[in-house]
Structures are given as structure tokens and as C-alpha cells.
Homo-oligomer: 404 residues x 4
Amino acid sequence: MTITSKPELGIALIGHAFMGATHSHAWRTAPRAFDLPLEPRMTVVCGRDGEATAAAAERLGWEESSTDWREVLTRDDIDVVDICTPGHTHAEIAVAALEAGKHVLCEKPLANSIAEAEQMTLAAELAASRGVRAMVGFTYRRVPAIQLARQLVAEGRIGEIRHVRAQYLQDWLLDPEAPLSWRLDKKLAGSGALGDIGSHIVDLVQFITGEHLETVTGALRTFVTERPVQAASGGFTGRAGTERGPVTVDDAAVFLAELSGGGLGTFEATRFATGRKNAIRLEINGSRGALSFDFEDMNVLNVLDTGDDPHVQGFRRVVVTEPEHPYLTAWWPPGHGLGYDHGFVNQAADLVGAIASGQDPTPSFADALGIQRVLDAVERSSQDRRSWVSVPGARFAAPAHVPA
Amino acid sequence: MTITSKPELGIALIGHAFMGATHSHAWRTAPRAFDLPLEPRMTVVCGRDGEATAAAAERLGWEESSTDWREVLTRDDIDVVDICTPGHTHAEIAVAALEAGKHVLCEKPLANSIAEAEQMTLAAELAASRGVRAMVGFTYRRVPAIQLARQLVAEGRIGEIRHVRAQYLQDWLLDPEAPLSWRLDKKLAGSGALGDIGSHIVDLVQFITGEHLETVTGALRTFVTERPVQAASGGFTGRAGTERGPVTVDDAAVFLAELSGGGLGTFEATRFATGRKNAIRLEINGSRGALSFDFEDMNVLNVLDTGDDPHVQGFRRVVVTEPEHPYLTAWWPPGHGLGYDHGFVNQAADLVGAIASGQDPTPSFADALGIQRVLDAVERSSQDRRSWVSVPGARFAAPAHVPA
Amino acid sequence: MTITSKPELGIALIGHAFMGATHSHAWRTAPRAFDLPLEPRMTVVCGRDGEATAAAAERLGWEESSTDWREVLTRDDIDVVDICTPGHTHAEIAVAALEAGKHVLCEKPLANSIAEAEQMTLAAELAASRGVRAMVGFTYRRVPAIQLARQLVAEGRIGEIRHVRAQYLQDWLLDPEAPLSWRLDKKLAGSGALGDIGSHIVDLVQFITGEHLETVTGALRTFVTERPVQAASGGFTGRAGTERGPVTVDDAAVFLAELSGGGLGTFEATRFATGRKNAIRLEINGSRGALSFDFEDMNVLNVLDTGDDPHVQGFRRVVVTEPEHPYLTAWWPPGHGLGYDHGFVNQAADLVGAIASGQDPTPSFADALGIQRVLDAVERSSQDRRSWVSVPGARFAAPAHVPA
Amino acid sequence: MTITSKPELGIALIGHAFMGATHSHAWRTAPRAFDLPLEPRMTVVCGRDGEATAAAAERLGWEESSTDWREVLTRDDIDVVDICTPGHTHAEIAVAALEAGKHVLCEKPLANSIAEAEQMTLAAELAASRGVRAMVGFTYRRVPAIQLARQLVAEGRIGEIRHVRAQYLQDWLLDPEAPLSWRLDKKLAGSGALGDIGSHIVDLVQFITGEHLETVTGALRTFVTERPVQAASGGFTGRAGTERGPVTVDDAAVFLAELSGGGLGTFEATRFATGRKNAIRLEINGSRGALSFDFEDMNVLNVLDTGDDPHVQGFRRVVVTEPEHPYLTAWWPPGHGLGYDHGFVNQAADLVGAIASGQDPTPSFADALGIQRVLDAVERSSQDRRSWVSVPGARFAAPAHVPA
């Protein structure tokens, strides 16, 4: 079925769990919402289990399924490899894909170790020199209110940044009887709340402010240290609920940071914030204005402008759904809000645009490596109970063009 | 005890229930918060029961108590009569006080009938020609955010008024076993939710917009038509809970209004708004801006200015505690909010200021008569199931000076 | 391209403007988000202009385009006709489609006149007897928070309904120089704010409460009575900005209503609510609890339960994104909110489910006719300045099954 | 003037600036709002400047004024010494007053150094053995919502505390041309934002949770290091605006804390939080529930109970104005909110109650010393860039009785 006259862009999706589903939605929707220069084609989805992957292909709308991602890399009709697998597999797949000349979209966190992330960044830079693009899926950057926040900082409306408050609050591990999933195993997941969700707020703060975190001090905490072992999938084991295994990652992380512009930041990432489901809360106070955002009200950015007349000065509740707002020409009329998945659609559209125009998309692997280094410094600060660990060689890409 | 060198202003309070308590607080506090030209002296409180009134004098801080308000009117050391009794007694006391040359502060609603209100207004106008002042206690006008709202309309920031949404929501009659108090007896109270709290939102809308309600159509409703008769106070009667009597006033009132400037208003006053305790909610949309207020967050006025840049336009959450805001030079630093009673203190200060400067305070008895006429038109509309009853001879005072 | 083994359901979309785009998104997304019994196939889109319709087909993802909807009705591979054209064309297309044995999804308002709506309802009932389904696109019913609201009323948590406050507030006509679009022409649009958005809040109130509006009284208002005539599309006319034509529909509507259960409602629909973009605000107070909703925060339902301990009683801010909430098993994890378009996807899924299971979907044409009658009564009340016009023969379908 | 038959309690106020004004309001109001066992008498106010103090006596309502606080301590008609002077004078006055057998209410922070605070605590403990009471003015404890928060923790509704987020945000030093007041001089003020407002959030967290901060790590920051020197009060100096002096205290403080129950806390106190005027924000996540408070909406406590049914679970917005709530029997009906000053009135009433009943009031000097030690540990952590400084000998009073 050909519904468009545009050149096609063949996509291979690796992984078909939660992130695979959101990326599938994005690839399907982006060319209909945006007038893209290339038409993404949902060619093949890869997974380990043949039957499950075939079912995922039908459910998520991919033409084919495969259990051999290496074979997929050899196909001429694949242009983009979209990596939605757990973190410990990212490096191998991404490096191979880039070397095979495929553009790569890799989910965050980039890797489970600094060494892997460095290797991937090197591969991405080599690939870039050959016109192959690499991008990391810090999708919350693509929420229009976040883009607007960055734009307002860039416009000078906030002034010099003095304070950042950044929290990513969830509560899905509250129940001590919640099972010991792979996400709680350091070997597979690399990190707990810090890497999974703390990485997002580090990225968002650096993206919005255009600054980076120079030194950090913090603490990790595991509140529930043992949990019931899950039965192996697909079979009865008789162990569920009786055997317990150790949680080897953090449940929560708190840290302070000094920003490169001289401001102070407080950061918190936790899966134990009772009553908060996916609350990404950012607050920035500058010398001229301030910003406040909460993902639980994701279509709103609160903006303070100290230039307003004193008797009518206060945070403006900007509903970020106007045609003047980032990405909104592709979407609905004012007040008809967007949801979680729209950020992924915007992300897919941006990647297609970058590929077509021959530009490097952001966030780059180098950006993601910088975030890994921040998280690593937090972890070392916590382990050693040392204060103010410097983030070594923090690399931070220059502020990218803000989408109109 | 003399703690001030200023000339004194002798106050007599008539009634010592809830309103008597708030007015006592106001007389005690106003000269300490504001630099008043006269020093109010809490000379005497009047009530029907000698013992109870004496106890009230001690509790509320009055020098003397009396059971004879007529005698009090003859005293030279009384300058102001503050009427906090139920509505059916207002006319007699107020007219007598004005004729005795005493300034009068009368609680709202002004009277239980249009005829009484007209008589009182006439008395006030005659008294004014002799330099005697009369004022009605629509105290919510004295909330700083409300004053600011009026100021913004006067500054032209809102433009032509198109829509008004005004609600006064309480829920204290929700329980059908709540007893049949005098407030539910039309002979004593005159009206139910309409007169008690509906009068406030009519006043606030007219005060803020500087317009008046020209025609109305509405409905009154009594949801619980019979309630347990209360035992007589002070004795055991054995009747409580078994005998029931009829509720003769409205539990709730809704009405639409056409404003003199061409806008449309929706109004609602109810004691059955489950979960709302004292929610006075006002929203005004004009051709240039908008306002939104909720007494449950009384230190905040939300203000929209359509002149703001489109990408940063939104309701500004103005915390009305800055020195630039009405009454705030008398109070606490920014962000240190005010409560319910501060409006009464501001009201007392305004009255003292008007007396000292020889000006007529607002709202006048004529203003209150205008409000009575609106409520009467609503009631007639409801009884006859007639639409759009005109408010006869609606008199509306010119916008008063907005306090700095 | 076949990506599924399920039986297909051929869809024809009539109209490809704003509503056509949202419906296209819904047909594309529903089978991927939900495990549907049938696979919708986006077969053909119809429009008046061949070139524009062909472009729309590519942009929105339809296999073919056509300028002859009557011809499309004869095709065997079309099972569902989805009508997204202006209101004055609904009756002709819907009746023809139903007579041709096609299931129909018709956008609201159902028709521009009661007579047309009655004719359509009759056609739908005849079709139903032949197993052909008809449904109206009151899509806001499919917002999870709205479904939850209805469920809570049905569970008895709210009790007897005393008060309803329903507002649909927009501001896109604020500028008096906004052009005279077809939506402001009564011949084409049938009605202004009342029919376009007032219809939604009447539907939502009746849907949530399970009651209907028995009598109404109200007022319509046109604030800007003349606007610049738009140049004909596709050519230079020289008239834009100089010639003006009359606005023949209402800019705003306010009305009161008596509900069938004895409660009182206030309703307001306007395109002049400065600062409100698409604020659908509902508040319901019952004898046991209360509900509050605002589409500007569409993933939240505020719920009061008077059974809570008094010292911890207050409106609960329920983030309606849990697996226990309506439709949410198809969507993202807790706290990962939905947007405007998800209601359309849910709607498409519900229609497919009804077709597959042989049940009549809701809201039916009869439900929509009932809404038309309410709006008509409001209009007559406004024209005659008569109060409390009864809604004749108000028909209200029994509460449908609430989705799990 | 004697308006009560109760035994009197003679009060001497030392200092008559901002805090002196709020305490005056409290002494005047408390016996009228509460039915106190003793009648406070506002006997004398002390200050350095005779004329200014005499004016303050009239303005604030004190019977006499004095420039000799030592002389006042010898008076038999003085029972309570209320210290509202800058921190560097607290120790001398408080110790002398306690030794003179006077009950003491001392403003926070208790002292400018640990040594002074220890000396004062010793004096208070000695005095207590003689029936002389000492209390520190951490007035925010007396906000009803805060008392309710503590009560809910004590009731077990929150469970084990996992996370605390505590912020005290102001912005009054935002302007770099704001003058160099004594509050910015470390010799006089002892500390900047940390001691002035950070002390409050440490107290509130310890008070609500019943835990103490065991170890801390943090950073202080002075954003504006030089400011214009103020002209000496009372004379023209010609220096204002040209000469600049160093700011020797912190503008902002951030720190992390480990709580004695194993939870993690993030703390922030700043005078540079653009747009926040007096935002005391507390959020507590426990194993069974959660709490959220913001002083900008001070009559509200948001409460989550994980025991609620999942489909109606969410933060309850409790308006803390019911008769069931702490202190509320003394105040207004539901929904008629309190303001900043009511906490001071409640505090005065509590102190009078403690004196009359012969109980030690809270917070004690020992409690305040514990807070000083936390602040000192933060400061040392910041200076040395050391992490996780233990709070030595942290003493924390057992949870006091929660007022009904």
C-alpha cells in the first residue's frame, strides 16, 4: 500500500515492550501530523522470541518481524535502527548499526557504563563524518512546554539562572511485595531511579538552561532491599512469593548541583513518592524571570516576568497549545491538549527532518554521555560519602536551534 | 486606659453573635494596623439577654454592656452604631440611630423587604445632609484582591465586560437533619441563600464592573423542606429530633442577568454545594482581559492581559500582598497572606476615614437597596416562572475612589 | 499491505477538515492501541474538491479519494461511513448511508434542525432493526475522567444530584476583525456557540448524571454583529477587510435548567471567554459527594466523598491514568497523560466493538435528538424572552454500560 | 480599663519592628479569640530610641514605653518577656529575664551562635525547675494545616517517612541595588537565608515528622556580594548609592539530609526565588500516605491516603477551617480562611495556656538549639565542601500534645 509519493525511510525497531509501543505509535503518526520530507516505513520489528515478536508486529503495526537484529542491519531497505531494548544491550546494537551505516535512535539511558557510553559516542562521531545520524530518546525535550521553556531562557526572559529545582517523582515501587523485576537488577538495568528517571531531569535542566552541572553531591537509597522473586515467564516455578532476592539498584536518589553559570540545583528522582505517578517538576528562578512546570499538567508552563507592572505581576499560566508554540502547528487547536505520546511523535519527526536535511539531531550520544557522567558522579559521591564530586570532562552541546 | 492622643470615636455594637465577634475584632485591630485620624473606643455592646451580653462584653472586649439599645442612642459618648442583628430588626435600629445623629454601620442584607430598605435609604440621605454617615457591611469588597479587580477594570485593562460568572457556594445545610434555625424562617431571615450570600455576589459584580444588573431570570429551590425543630435555648423541651417544621426560605438560587454594559452574567448562591465551604468565585471576561477569583484562595487574583506576547500569554497568578496593592501598606510583607477577618478591619478603617474626612462611605444604603431590588426581581422571576424581570429603578452609586 | 489476520472493516470518511483529521488519527490508532475484533481499513476519503481531497488522502493516510460520496455508498468494501462535514449536510448523507446498509458515525451536532434530526433518528431506528449501527460523535464522553465521573454517579458515590455547573469556554472570536466564516452563518452552521459547544456540555451533563434537562430558560447573545467578509478561497477578490457581513448566529449562550432528578443547572457556552481556550468545566454537587472537571486539565477528576473523616475531607485530585480507570488498559502507565485525540481513538474502538458484537453504540441518534431539543428550547426561550421552556418529548437513553 | 475578671499576665515586649508588631497583634487578639485562663496585659514595650519607642507604644497599643529593658525585668507587674530584637541580643536578654523569674518568648533563630544557644538552653532548663517557662517563636508551627500534618503523621496515616521536600522561597533580594541592611551583616544577623528562613523549615520538618535530621550536606551561596550602603537612619549622609559594602551572609542555602527514621530530605532556603514571596513548601511521602503544603495557600493541606479505593485515590485538598481542625474552634466558620497573623495569636494563646497550667511550652530552647546545630552542620559542610556532616548531640523533644 502506497499512500504517499515521498521517498521512504525504512525503520527497524529493536524491542517491542513499553518503549517499543510508544515508538511504533510515533512512527505511524509522525508522517500524518507533520509534513515530513521522507515517509517512514514501519518495515520490521525485532525481538528475541519469534512468536511474541510476530504478535507484536501485528499489534503495533510492523510489516515484518525478526529475531535476528544483526541480519536486519544488512538489509538495504532499512535506513533507521530504533533501539528500545534494555540498557545493557544498547552499546552492541548501536555501534553495529552505525557501522552498518544505519541512522540510530537509541533509548535512554545511553548505556549502563561510562565506558560503553564513550564507545558509543565515538562510534556516533565517526558515523557522523559519513553522514550517518545518531540521536538519543530523551523524549521529554519534545514536550512543547519544555521547548518553550528553553526558548524563553534563550530569549533572555529569565536572565541569569540562580536556582533550579528538578524532581522526577513516581511511586510504583511503594508496595514492598512488588516483584523483583529486571529493572531492580544492577547487572541488567545499570541503575535504579537515578539512571531511569534521574537522567531525564538532568537532561531537561541542561537543555532548558543551556548550562551543565559542574559538581554534584548526593545520596542514593534503597528502601526495600529484598523483594519476591518473580516466576520465570512462561512457566510455573512455585517460587513466587516465598523466595526473595536482593534489590541491587537505588529506589531513590537526591543530589545537589552547581551549574556552570553559578546557580544552585536540587535534584530528586524516586519511585517512592507516594501519590505521584509521573511528576516531572521543574522550577527555575533567574535574575529576570522564572519558570515552573509539572508533567502532571504537561500542557502548561508557568512563566514569571519581573518586567510586568508590580500590581499585576505573577506567574502566568501559559497553556502551551497556541500556533505560536513549538510543534503546535502540527497539532490541534488552542486548548485541545497533548498527551504523553505526542513527545515521541515530535521526536520522530525531528529525526526524520535531521536525516533529510543532513544535520545532526539532538540530543546526541555526546550529550547523553555527559548525562551519564553526571549520574556517575552522583553515584560516586553517594558511595564515598564525598561531597561535590566534579563531573569530569562534561561535554555539553551548544544550544540547538529551537524549533519554530 | 488611654494609649493614644487621638480624638476618640465611641462605638456601640448591637448584636454579639458571629458578626458581632468579627466587628469587635475589627474595631480593636483597625487603629493598630492603620494610622487612623480617630481612635475608635469600644464603649458598649447591646443584646437582649443581660447575662449573655455581659459575658460577650468581656469575651469580645467592650467596656460596658446594655440590653437597651434605645438608651444607648441617647449617650453623648457614642458616635457610631454598628448593627449586627438579624435582618428584621435593621430598619428600626438604623433609622433611630441616624435620627439620633449617630453614624451607622449596618450588616447586610440591609433589610428584609424593599419597603424597609427604601425607608432606611431615605433616612440615610436625610442624615447625610446633616453630616451623619451610613454604610453597609458588604465586607468582601474590602478583600484586597477584590479592590484590585475593580482597579484593573477602572484602568481599562479588562475592556468591555462580556461575561460574568459569580458563585457563592457553601454546604452547611447538606445534612437533612441539620436543625431548623431562625435563618430558615422567612419571617425572621427574609430570605435564604439568595439574600444571605447571593447578595454578596451581586454587590461584588456591581462593585468590580461599575455596572449594574438590569434584568434577571432565575429560580429558587428548597431541597430539604422540613427539618427538626430546635429546642428552645436555655431549656429542655423534649422536642428535638421528633417534631419537624417547614423550611420557608430557599436553599439555593440560580439566576441569569443582563448587565448594563451589555454583558451576560450567571449567578448561583447555595448552601448545598457539597465540599465548598465559603467559595466565592468570580470570573469576568472582557474584550481586553479577564479576571478570576476564588475566596478559598483569597490572597490571589488571576489576571489575563491580551496585550501580552502570544507565546507567554496566560492568566497571571497575582499574589495580592505587595505594597502596591490596596490596603497592604497596613499589613504584612509580601506573601504573608491575609484572612477572612482582615476585610472587616479594612472596612472599619474606611468608615473611620470617611467620618473623619466628612465623606459618605460606600457601599451606601442606596447601593444596598439596589441589591435588594435585584434579589427581589430574582424572587419574582422564580415565583411567576417569568423570564427576564427588569430591576426597577436600579440605583447604582458612581464608582468610589479605589483605596491606594 | 496486510498487517493483521483480523476481518477488515472498510471505512469511508466524508469531509477532511479538522474533524476529518482527528477521525483519521483515530481510525489509524485504535486498532494498535486496542485489541479490536475487526481491523478498520482506511479505504476512502470523500470531499468536494478532487485535488484537495487527493492531497488529504495522502496527508491523512487514506488509500483512495473520491468526490462522489453517493458512489462510495454503493461499494461493497465500505462498512462504515464517517460523516465529518458541516451540519447542514448530515441528514442527507446519514440517511442515505443507513439506507445503503452502512454503519454511520456522524459528527455533532446531529443536524441543523429538529425536523432533520427526527428524520435521522427514524432512519437510525429502522436501520438498527436491520443490524446497522448509528452513533454520534460526542467525543468528550470518551475522555476517561468523564467516564469515571459517570461511573461514580452510578456507584452512588455522589448521591442525589442537587447542582450542576457546566461551562464550555473558548475565546477565538474575541478579535472583532476575525473574518466571517461559514460557522457564523446560520444557514450553514445552524447555530453558533450554543450548537457547536453548548451541545457538548448538555450531552456531558446528561451522560454523567443519567438525568435529562426538563426545562430551560436562557439567553443568546451576539457581541460582534458584523465581521469582514472573507475572500473566496482560491482567488483574489479585493473585498477582504473592506466589505462586512452580518453574523447570524450566537457568540454566546447562557441558560438555566431543571434536571429530571430535581437539581438545578447553570450552563454557559461562549467563544468570548477571554483567556479560556477550550475549557469544558463541569461541577456536580450531590447529597453524598461532588465532582469537578476542567478539560484544560483533562487527565484529572476531582472527587469529594462526604464519607471521609471530617478532618481529612476534601476534593481528591484523581489523576485518571491508572489501570483501574476507563480505557486506560489500552494506554500508557500511570501519570503518562492523554490528550485531546485519545477520546477519538476510544470512540472509534467503541464503535468497532459495538459493530462486532451486534450492539447499538451510544450516544445514539435519539440521544442527539434529545440534545437538539434542549438547544431548541433554549433558543426559543431566548427569542421570546420566555422563562422555563419545557423540552418536548425529551428522550434519554438508559445509562449505557460503563467501559471497564 | 478592666474588661475581664481573669487574673492578669503582664507582658513586656522588647523590640517593636516587624516582629514586635505581629506579637502586639497576637497579645491583643489572643484573649478575645480564645477563652484563656489568664488575661494578658500589654504593659510595656522596650526599645533603644525613646521617641520611636513611645510612638510604637501608641501605634501598637502598649500602655507604657521604656528604653531600659533591664529595669523592666525588675518590675513585679511583668510576668512575660517577649523578645523581638535581632539575634545577637537574644542571649543576654533571655538569660537575664529567665534569671529574673520572667517567662520568656524568644523569636527565632534562638541565637547567633551555638555557644549562646547552649547557654540559653541551660538557663531555660534551670528556670523550668523553678516553674519559669521559655518558648521559641517558630510560629509556623501554629498554622492549623501544619498542626494537622503532624497529627496525621502521629495517627499513622502517613506511615514510615521516605521523602521530605522542604523549601522556603522568597525573592526580596532579587534587585542587586537593594541596600545593605543589617540582615546582610553576619555580625548582627548571624546568618542569611539559612538562619532566617531555613531554620523554619528544619523546625517544621522535625515537628511534623517527629524525627530529626541526623546528617546533612549542603551549600551556601551569595549571589550579590556587594550592595549599596544605607545612609544612617535619621540623617543625610550622601553615601547612599555610591558607596558599597560586602554582603557577609548567604543569599541562599541548599542541603540534603538523612532523617532519623531513614528517610531522605532536600532543603532549600533562598531570598532569590523570583516570583515566590513567602512560599514555605513542604511535601512528605510515607509508606502509607503523603502530605503537601504551601504557605501561599496556607489554609490547605493536601493529603493522600493509599487506603482509598484505587479508582478514586488522589491528593485530598483539605481546607483546614473545620471545627475538627486544630485551633479552629477559636476562629471563623468553615471556608473563612486565616492569615499570617493567626499563627502568632495561636502561639500567644498556647504560651498563656502553658504558663497557667504549669507545663513547659514547645518549641523549647532545647528544640531551637537542635535546629541551630543542624544549621551549623550545613554551614560547616558548605565551608569545607565536606559531605554528610553529622549533627552533634541533636536533641529533639518528644512529640508534644497536639492541640485539639
